[in-house]
Subunit: 405 residues, 2 copies
């Protein structure tokens, strides 16, 4: 076991050494808000990515995956646009995504295949390539070691706030930094939400190790959130490691790397939920007493996506019966006679007995903005999981029911 | 192949010969509305049942299952209360459910085990047994061959209307009738919805055949609907066949029986969706071009439960990209280049090409109350499925967010 410590620091993707970023407005969004970001590593970086599991994958997903394969897991730049998802756009869409990487490569001086690309916005609409092309030139000229915040703003759609996080980790080889930015479920027009995440580090990490650590850190951060159970055609998380800190991480440092990645990914993931469409409350769901972690995660995910649980939390209703019902449909392993339900600090059901006299206390707790729900499935097993979700509100319906045109 | 025809007739559970029913108010509901129903067959009937797949099963589910086993698939009466689910109520709950069957058996003159019981309402609250006991006596005294409508009203919670259907089927042996009633997702208090269905027939059908036919008919009717993807602790569908028509059905009549059951179960199922909490539109989802029927059903179910699809339909937004995205996450077998999306009569996406110029036409169509969505997954396979759902509205949130007390 290697001793290490990590601590949160200010900043985002440009907090680690050797990264520059920028965000500009180039007219993809009709409202004139920033809509194109570039992130560049001063030296070629190891690169890793986690992509949407959706079978309908957008053109930028296909191109980025292809580039990572061709480059053997290295990259020098990432270009991202908001306002248009470039999904379900056929051969033109693929050609547009490739063109974005070519233009970025030319502007920052690297190979095409060293550029990763991501898009978010409306599905089925083609990119306005003249605007995108001008935007890439503009963004390349604006690259700055202080550009992380601008980049984070330009990947937003209707996110209520931009999302950045950074951390510093110390290990036997020295100190390195990790930075990140993300965007969540809000859209310039009420279309499919896309979750994008970008993580940088100035540690030196081989691509395979970076990929393994990113997958692990994503699993219980970005993959442990849900706003509405939907999975986009464009979801992706990229990680770049450029070694600029001089700290080289080996397989022995895997726990350090995962912990440091989590320290950045977890607040970004939680911020995505806090900024979920129409959300007024963050819900942290903890499931324990499952036979396996997988059972626990299935249950936690079902609770995170339950409209009845999400509306109950919205209304401040300590309606524990809904948690039992969701747990009962999500897993075959609920043992009702030994199960336990807690809403914040208030135990409402235990060993088959409801404590309805505590409902008022639980209702008080639910007036807060940070809500914890705990379900113990009662199997006595070691399985547990945590998920983050938000409440379901009339505003969510309003945002997503408005006709686009 | 046996020739048969079925036609819809007026009435509900007492449309077939030899059934009596009643519905009364006994004070389980604080607002004084009817809350207890009894359904009786004049002669012992074959009985079949389909129960919730939820692991957390309410006391009446456990008792009814036990009675069906002990009686070898026969029953003479069904007692149902609304206003209290008798779920998560421990040993007391079990004893209350048994007591309901004992009281009903005594009042109508049959064995305890010949009585099935169902409950719907708030989870985790015990039944007020004095009121229930008085209600059973009252309902037994009110039993009538015209009591179907009263029974259908007394099983409602906040259903906006009661749900009855009946059909007459002619086969080589003669003419028999099937009747039914159901309740859906609306509650006296905003708690877990429960779907209850009750089907009667005056055909003579052996219990095993009735069970097989009920399971088949339920599969593409009651099991093909979703209001909010939730599955209750109390869901059940009962069928009683008393032979009063003198028409005996054998295994050869299985297609007739299933068709006749579907003719009653399908309108009841659709009415449950129409009366779904906050619903303003019925959505019929058809999925074709899947490799298997199971793939098609998985996709149809995901669309039926997608908050983004349900809000888009609510807002009249022909947002076909959401259908692609849901199909892509629900199945591994979507072939985007050959997939097809239709909103009513309007094709919006086909063979990789969007037809956004038809969006206005599709938006016009979406102003209606009966919406059809068709997704062809493009695999060229024979798999298809149909599901019914409703739109997701701010009213759904309001109903389910209101604090209970």
């Amino acid at each position: 076991m290697i001793a290490f410590e990590t601590q949160t620091i200010a900043g985002g993707v440009t907090a680690p050494a050797g990264f520059r970023a920028s965000g500009v407005a180039c007219g993809i969004k009709a409202n004139g808000k920033p809509d194109l970001s570039i992130l560049v590593s001063e030296t070629p970086a190891s690169a890793a990515a986690v992509f949407t599991t959706n079978v309908a994958q957008a053109a930028p997903i296909l191109v980025s995956r292809e580039h990572l394969q061709r480059s053997g897991g290295t990259a020098a730049a990432v270009v991202v646009n908001s306002g248009c998802a470039n999904a379900c756009t056929g051969a033109d869409g693929l050609s547009h995504a490739r063109e974005m990487t070519r233009l970025t490569a030319a502007a920052v001086g690297c190979k095409d295949e060293a550029v990763l690309v991501a898009s978010t916005g409306v599905i089925g609409v083609k990119l306005p390539m003249e605007k995108v092309s001008a935007g890439i030139r503009l963004a390349a000229g604006a690259l700055s070691p202080d550009g992380g915040a601008a980049a984070a703003r330009a990947i937003m759609t209707t996110d209520p706030f931009s999302k950045e996080a950074a951390a510093e980790a110390s290990t036997r080889g020295g100190t390195f930094r990790i930075g990140g930015m993300a965007k969540g479920s809000g859209m310039i027009e009420p279309m499919m939400a896309t979750m994008l995440g970008f993580v940088t580090t100035d540690a030196m990490v081989a691509p395979a190790l970076l990929q393994r650590a990113l997958a692990a850190a994503t699993d219980d951060t970005f993959n442990a959130i849900s706003v509405d159970g939907e999975c986009s055609t464009n979801d992706c998380v990229f990680a770049l490691a450029n070694g600029a800190s001089g700290v080289a991480l080996t397989d022995d440092d895997y726990p350090t790397l995962v912990a440091a990645l989590r320290q950045v990914c977890e607040p970004l993931a939680i911020d995505i939920v806090r900024g979920g469409e129409g959300a007024t409350k963050l819900i942290t769901i903890r499931v324990t007493g499952a036979k396996t972690n997988a059972d626990a995660k299935t249950t936690a995910r079902a609770i995170a996506n339950s409209p009845l649980v999400k509306t109950a939390v919205h209304g401040g209703d300590p309606n524990w019966g809904r948690l039992v019902a969701v747990a009962g449909r999500a897993t075959r392993t609920l043992v009702l006679e030994r199960a336990r339900i807690e809403v914040g600090p208030v135990e409402l059901f235990s060993n088959g007995t409801p404590f309805d006299e505590r409902a008022a206390e639980a209702a008080d707790y639910l007036r807060g903005k940070d809500i914890e729900l705990h379900v113990d499935l009662g199997t006595g097993g070691p399985g547990e999981a945590r998920m983050w979700s938000c409440d379901l509100t009339a505003e969510y319906v309003r945002i997503n029911a408005d006709y686009r045109t």
